[in-house]
């Protein structure tokens, strides 16, 4: 009996003590903060319901679905060439990169390979999409932390990249240019020289970002040590792209994937950062833009001659089978699991988009963070709503 009462007494004291610890400064009470759906950090309409205790986040629940368009269902009633029009709109900042893994999956099932010239131009456009996508992040990261100028620089220089994409494909945002067996068209005359000039501008932009943002003391103080994701946690949650490389995992499908792109033909480096915090994710992306410039420059110098389209039937029927192809898209690993029954349309397309997995870690990573850091962590994870909701 004495034992039990002692235990009760101890429990009571412990509860008092823990209460005292929490309320050592002033009384706090739980509060629910609704971040979004229209918050600028959400790149669309993501709503995060944040339960707070004072300034500290107890629990964060992202609510998606405001932009769910049901592409997996729609793909079941579209022919294979028509699906690229849909998937263009998944990650709308790097649209061309969305088409590539789907086309590669269809090509694997059809046992068709694009001619070398098509593969090289594909890779160039793929990397241009990466630049167009990621420089917006670099500018946006500044905005989320209170620096308004970088985003104007980003929008300014992104135009030059979009102009180059438009010059080839005819579309600024939704190129719909990739075809099973190659590309719709060849690059126009004089395009390689212009693109080399644009790469110079992008490099200047990266230098400006280094001067203006990266080296800025205030910017350094905000994201460093915030939102730390250990490598094994990131892997178990399916994080990819710069998010996982920012946690020190040396894994890049451009180097390790072995799919039909020309990345293995040129000399480049996979950047990683050991810290795993918000700053390291920003830093890795900045390096990747520079690296992408290098990749494009080398590819432009050696585009092989020849056709841009392999011989494929006019009406495309994909033989029965299943293929999963993933590539290292601007936002991370994007893959398509294509199930074909030998018909004109896919039987099932599972779209594995990068942002969906990247953002699924938010409840874990935001727990225990402070309110001002929520935005900076969300911004550093970098997601596009179309890529979450599909």
């Amino acid at each position: 009996m004495t034992d039990v009462s002692n235990r009760n007494q101890l429990a009571y004291i412990a509860a008092q003590a823990s209460d005292a610890r929490v309320n050592v400064e002033f009384e706090t009470e739980g509060m629910t903060l609704n971040l979004g759906p229209q918050h600028p950090a959400t790149h669309g309409t993501l709503r995060v319901i944040v339960k707070l205790d004072g300034e500290r986040v107890l629990r964060a629940d992202p609510m998606m679905g405001y932009m769910h368009r049901g592409y997996e269902k729609l793909a079941e009633v579209r022919t294979y060439p028509q699906v690229t029009t849909l998937v263009n709109r998944i990650d709308w900042l790097g649209s061309f990169a969305n088409e590539v893994p789907f086309i590669l999956a269809a090509e694997r099932l059809m046992e068709v390979e694009a001619p070398p010239r098509a593969q090289w131009i594909r890779t160039i456009l793929f990397e241009l999409s990466r630049i167009a996508n990621v420089i917006l992040f670099l500018g946006d990261m500044g905005v989320q932390l209170g620096a308004v100028t970088p985003v104007f620089f980003a929008f300014r220089d992104r135009e030059f990249v979009l102009n180059q994409i438009e010059a080839v494909t005819g579309g600024r945002f939704h190129p719909n240019f990739d075809r099973i067996g190659g590309l719709k068209d060849d690059i126009p005359k004089g395009w390689t020289e212009e693109t080399t000039g644009v790469l110079g501008r992008i490099r200047t932009f990266c230098d400006e970002m280094e001067d203006l943002v990266t080296g800025n003391e205030i910017f350094q103080a905000r994201p460093r040590g915030i939102g730390v994701i250990p490598a094994e946690v990131g892997l178990a949650y399916g994080l990819s792209g710069a998010n996982i490389r920012g946690s020190g995992v040396d894994w890049d499908l451009r180097r390790d994937g072995g799919v039909g792109l020309a990345h293995d033909q040129v000399d480049w480096k996979v950047w990683t950062h050991p810290d795993g915090d918000s700053f390291s994710r920003y830093w890795v992306r900045l390096q990747e833009v520079r690296e992408a410039c290098g990749i494009i420059e080398q590819l432009l110098g050696g585009i092989p001659s020849g056709p841009v389209m392999a011989k494929v039937p006019r009406i495309i029927k994909v033989p029965a089978g299943e293929a999963y192809v993933e590539t290292e898209n601007p936002l991370g690993v994007m893959g398509y699991y294509v199930v074909s029954k030998g018909d004109l349309v896919p039987f099932r397309v599972k779209i594995r988009s990068a942002s969906f997995s990247n953002i699924s870690i938010t409840p874990w990573v935001l727990e225990g963070a402070y309110v001002p850091d929520v935005v900076s962590i969300l911004a550093s994870l970098y997601f596009i709503l179309g890529d979450i909701d599909r």
Binding site: K73, E111, P313, D343, V345, S360
Partner: protein, 233 residues
């Protein structure tokens, strides 16, 4: 088969006998640890590997893959409804609506893809080894009337949202999932949209405009919303 380039066929045939020790080892260790739990497997040398396990060993498979095979990376999890669409060719293929009635009378038999299948619903998940760069696709057949399967969350916490998506889109009960609520759909939504017997309502309302290549006359159209060809479902 349908490839017009005979050269490519020769090349791919030349690749097939090549052994793939790394992927074979994964299948071997799964067979070793799961025993009868492993139903079928297929290795496409140098490219991919698929395994099919029983529903009961679904969670055990994840544990073996993570702990023994080094598959630390969770890639995705979803499901496949293998039933042919009951809505005829107009839902499945871009051919004339005329054929729709015939195919409704004579439904296609159910066929399964790689590693086969036995029931209508199949769970599909993929994990990846970020060191050896090998991915494994895992499948499991689910009961057609009451599809239920263990949650992968104890092994891969990232399976959380993927399982919620599978639950709302296919109606698959995820046993042991702590928060099985709708992810994308409104909470009062009824039905499982990615099931094959769930109609694509936009297409029901207005047939695919590309089927008949005739432009509608002004005034014939159903309004602006229909011009997108059934985009907003």
């Amino acid at each position: 088969m349908s490839s017009p380039d005979t050269n490519l066929d020769e090349v791919s045939e030349g690749h097939e006998p090549v052994a793939d020790p790394a992927r074979d080892a994964i299948v071997a260790s799964l067979a070793d640890q799961l025993g009868d739990g492993l139903v079928a497997s297929e290795v496409l040398a140098g490219t991919d590997v698929w395994v099919r396990v029983t529903t009961d060993s679904w969670l055990a498979t994840a544990t073996v893959l993570r702990d023994t095979c080094g598959m630390a990376y969770f890639n995705f999890l979803s499901a496949i409804d293998w039933m042919p669409s009951p809505f005829g060719r107009d839902m499945d293929a871009q051919v004339d609506l005329v054929g729709a009635d015939e195919s409704q009378v004579d439904p296609e038999p159910m066929t399964w893809g790689v590693t086969g299948g036995a029931t209508r619903f199949q769970m599909i998940a993929r994990v990846h080894d970020p060191v050896c760069h090998i991915g494994v696709t895992v499948k499991a057949d689910l009961d057609a009337d009451d599809p239920r399967v263990d949650s992968w969350m104890p092994v891969y916490p990232g399976a959380d949202w993927h399982e919620r998506e599978a639950w709302e889109m296919f109606g698959i009960t995820i046993v042991g999932h702590p928060n099985l609520v709708n992810l994308y759909l409104p909470s009062q939504f009824e039905g499982n949209p990615l099931r094959k017997d769930y109609p694509l309502l936009a297409r029901r309302v207005k047939p695919w405009p590309g089927i008949v290549d005739v432009e509608a006359m002004p005034g014939d159209g159903d309004g602006d919303a229909a011009d997108e060809g059934g985009e907003g479902s």
